[in-house]
C-alpha cells in the first residue's frame, strides 16, 4: 500500500501551456508535470525566483493525472496595445501606457484554452524530506491563489485534497472519487461533476514512475531545470486510456 495525495481540478476554462514562442500560445489537453508542480508551489507559497524549492519539489514528487474530460478547444483572439519602446521610459500604469493613442502598436496573441475540462491529480513522494500532509493542508488553504494554467482560469470547486492509501494510483483515483460521491450523497446534493459535458467517452491516465506493460510511453520536456532561465528537461511518462461507455466516439 502506498500513500497518495489526490485532488480535483475543475474550472470552466483551463490552459496548459505547450512549448510556445511568439504569437500562438497552444494548450495541451491535460496538465503537465510542470503545471502541477507550479500549482503545488503556489499553494505552498514558493515565489518564482525560489529556484531550489521548485527543483526539490519536482524531484521529490511523482505525479499522475486522470482525465475525465479533456475539454473543447477555445482559441481566443487577443490583442494588446503597447506603446513604442522609448529608451528608458517605464510606464507606471496602464492608463499611462495608453495615453499617446497615435503611437500605440498592437500585438496579436492567440491563446488556446480548454472548456469543460476536468481532471483528478495524484502525487506520491519519492524523497523523505517532502511532507504530503503539509501539501494537503496548503492545497486546501493555499498561500497564493491557485489557477488552471493561466491566472484567469479560476478553479470552480474546492480541490478537496485528500490522502489516500492504495495499492496503485488507479485504485487511489477511484477511492478518491467514491469518497467524494458519498459526501454529496450524504448531504443529498446533486453530484454536479456527473454532468454529461464533464465526462468524455473514455478516461485517460497519464503518470510517471509506476511502469505498466500495457501503457504507452511518451516523452515530454517539462521537468523543471530552472524556472529563472525557463529550462526544462525531458521526462518519460506513461499513458493509458479506457473506454467508459459503449457509444460512438465524438469528434
Amino acid at each position: 500500500m502506498k500513500d497518495y495525495l489526490v485532488f480535483r481540478l475543475y474550472g470552466p476554462i483551463a490552459s496548459w501551456g505547450e512549448i510556445a514562442v511568439g504569437e500562438n500560445r497552444h494548450s495541451f489537453s491535460y496538465p503537465s508535470k510542470s503545471a502541477i508542480m507550479g500549482l503545488l508551489a503556489s499553494a505552498l507559497g514558493y515565489k518564482r525566483e525560489e529556484e531550489e524549492k521548485h527543483i526539490l519539489l519536482t524531484q521529490s514528487l511523482s505525479f499522475g493525472v486522470k482525465v475525465y474530460s479533456p475539454g473543447i478547444l477555445l482559441r481566443d483572439y487577443h490583442t494588446v496595445q503597447v506603446p513604442p519602446s522609448k529608451g528608458k521610459i517605464i510606464y507606471s500604469t496602464r492608463k499611462d501606457e495608453l495615453r499617446e493613442k497615435l503611437e500605440l502598436n498592437t500585438i496579436l496573441s492567440s491563446r488556446d484554452y480548454r472548456m469543460d475540462a476536468m481532471y483528478d491529480v495524484c502525487i506520491r513522494k519519492k524523497k523523505q524530506e517532502i511532507d504530503l500532509v503539509e501539501i494537503q493542508k496548503k492545497l486546501n488553504e493555499p498561500i497564493f491563489s491557485l489557477f488552471l494554467g493561466r491566472k484567469s482560469c479560476v478553479l470552480s470547486s474546492p480541490v478537496f485534497a485528500s490522502l489516500v492509501n492504495a495499492n496503485d494510483l488507479f485504485l487511489a483515483f477511484s477511492k478518491y472519487e467514491q469518497n467524494l460521491k458519498e459526501r454529496f450523497k450524504k448531504e443529498n446534493i446533486n453530484y454536479f461533476f456527473e454532468n454529461e459535458k464533464l465526462k468524455s467517452n473514455f478516461i485517460e491516465y497519464i503518470w510517471e514512475d509506476e511502469g505498466d506493460e500495457n501503457a504507452d510511453i511518451r516523452t515530454r520536456r517539462d521537468e523543471v531545470l530552472s524556472r529563472k532561465r525557463w529550462q526544462f528537461s525531458e521526462r518519460k511518462e506513461f499513458y493509458k486510456s479506457e473506454v467508459k461507455q459503449n457509444v460512438p466516439i465524438q469528434s
Binding site: G11, P12, I13, K47, R48, I72, L74, D76, Y77, H78, V80, S85, K86, G87, K88, I89, I90, S92, T93, R94, K95, D96, L98, R99, E100, M115, D116, L139, N140, E141, P142, I143, F144, S145, L146, F147, K151, S152, C153, V154, L155, S156, S157, P158, V159, F160, R183, F184, E187, I189, F192, N195, E196, K197, L198
Partner: protein, 352 residues
C-alpha cells in the same frame, strides 16, 4: 487577516458587442456544453484600469502630473553647488526615465529638460528623486544606471500591484498579479445574432440608382453575465510595499470599478452600459473557488436574474455542506430586491 477576498457578480448587458474576435463577432465560450457570450478577462481589466472612476478613487495616492520635473531637478542640483552643465546632464538622465525629452530650443534654454507629455510622479518616486539629487550633489558624480532604474522599481502603483506586469526585457520590474479575474460568461445559452443594416445616401434622389449607400452587418448578443474575481490581499499588500491604507483603498476602488464600469467596445452603437445587479463578497483563508457550477446547467427560467441569484446562493451553501467551510464570512447586495449596498460590501472587504 483574511487572505482571499472573492467577488461574485451578476451583470446584465442589453444587446451589445463589448468584446470581439478577429471577425468582429462577440466572443463566446462553451460551458456545460452550450454556447455562451464571453467578455475576456483582459478586456474587463483594461476597461477598469483606464476608467476615470478608477483614477479618481485612487487619486489621493497619485503624486503629481507634470512636464517640468526636469527643470525642478536641474534647479535643485544647481542650488546644491553642482556645475550648470553637469546639473543639466544629470537632470536630463533622471527625468528621461519618465518620458521622452523635448528638443533644444534657442529661445527657451531649459526646453530640453521638459518631457513631451505630462508624466505622473508618485509620492515615492518624488522622494527617491530628492534622495538621489542629494546623493549626487554630495558625491559630485553622475547617476548610475542602476540608480535610475530604481527610481521606478518601487512604485506603488495600485494598477500594477493588482494586475501584474511582465517585461521580458527587464524582468526585475516584473510583478506578480494579486488579482485574478475570470472571463465573464453568460449564465444562459446564447446565439449570436446578426443585424443587417443599410445606410441611405441622403443626396441620392433615386433618379438613377435607388440602392442604399452602404450595406453591412453587425453581430451582437445580450446576456446576464457571471463574473468572478479573487483578490489575494497579502500579495497585494506586499506589492504595495506594506501600505495598508493604500491596499484597502485599492480593494475598494476595484470593487467600485468592477460593479460600475463596462467595457467600452461598441458603446456608441449599443449604449450597453450596465451596473452589477448582484454582488456577493466572501473573505477567508480557504482555497478560493468560483461559483461557475451554479450555471453549468444553463439557466432557462423566465425570471433569469432572480433564479441566478438563487442558484449562486444555493451553490455556496451546498459547497459548504460537502466540503466544509469555504469562507469566514460573506456579504451581498441585491439590486432586484433593493437589499444591501456597495458601501456595505466595501467596508466588509476592507481589512478587519
Amino acid at each position: 487577516m483574511n487572505r482571499f477576498i472573492q467577488l461574485h457578480l451578476l451583470t446584465s448587458y442589453p444587446p451589445s458587442n463589448l468584446n470581439r474576435d478577429d471577425l468582429g463577432r462577440p466572443k463566446t465560450a462553451i460551458m456545460g456544453g452550450v454556447n455562451r457570450l464571453r467578455i475576456s478577462s483582459q478586456s474587463l481589466k483594461r476597461a477598469w484600469r483606464t476608467s476615470d472612476s478608477f483614477k479618481e478613487k485612487l487619486s489621493t495616492h497619485i503624486g503629481i502630473r507634470t512636464k517640468e520635473m526636469g527643470i525642478q531637478i536641474f534647479e535643485s542640483l544647481k542650488e546644491k553647488g553642482v556645475k550648470d552643465k553637469d546639473a543639466k546632464d544629470w537632470a536630463k538622465s533622471i527625468v528621461g526615465v519618465f518620458g521622452k525629452l523635448k528638443g533644444e530650443k534657442k529661445e527657451s534654454p531649459n526646453n530640453d529638460l521638459e518631457i513631451e507629455q505630462l508624466a505622473h510622479f508618485s509620492t515615492e518616486e518624488k522622494t527617491m528623486i530628492e534622495a538621489l539629487i542629494a546623493k549626487l550633489a554630495s558625491e559630485k558624480r553622475a547617476p548610475k544606471e542602476e540608480e535610475l532604474k530604481l527610481l521606478k522599481k518601487e512604485n506603488s502603483s495600485a494598477d500594477i500591484a493588482m494586475f501584474g506586469r511582465m517585461l521580458a526585457s527587464s524582468p526585475s520590474f516584473n510583478k506578480e498579479a494579486a488579482v485574478q479575474v475570470a472571463h465573464a460568461i453568460t449564465v444562459h445559452k446564447v446565439a449570436v445574432e446578426d443585424d443587417f443594416f443599410t445606410a441611405i445616401d441622403d443626396l441620392n434622389k433615386n433618379d438613377v440608382d435607388a440602392g442604399a449607400g452602404h450595406l453591412g452587418d453587425t453581430e451582437f448578443g445580450a446576456g446576464l453575465f457571471y463574473l468572478y474575481i479573487c483578490i489575494d490581499r497579502n500579495l497585494l499588500l506586499e506589492n504595495l510595499n506594506g501600505d495598508r491604507n493604500l491596499t484597502n483603498q485599492t480593494i475598494t476602488s476595484l470593487l467600485e470599478a468592477c460593479t460600475t464600469v463596462s467595457p467600452t467596445g461598441k458603446q456608441n452603437s449599443f449604449a450597453s452600459r450596465a451596473r452589477a445587479m448582484f454582488c456577493l463578497a466572501e473573505k477567508g483563508n480557504q482555497q478560493p473557488r468560483s461559483l461557475h457550477v451554479s450555471f453549468l446547467k444553463p439557466i432557462e427560467d423566465k425570471d433569469m436574474l432572480a433564479k441566478s441569484i438563487d442558484e449562486i446562493e444555493k451553490m455556496r451553501m451546498n459547497f459548504e455542506k460537502v466540503y466544509g467551510k469555504c469562507s469566514e464570512g460573506e456579504k451581498s447586495f441585491n439590486v432586484l430586491k433593493g437589499e444591501g449596498s456597495l458601501e456595505s460590501i466595501s467596508s466588509f472587504i476592507k481589512e478587519d
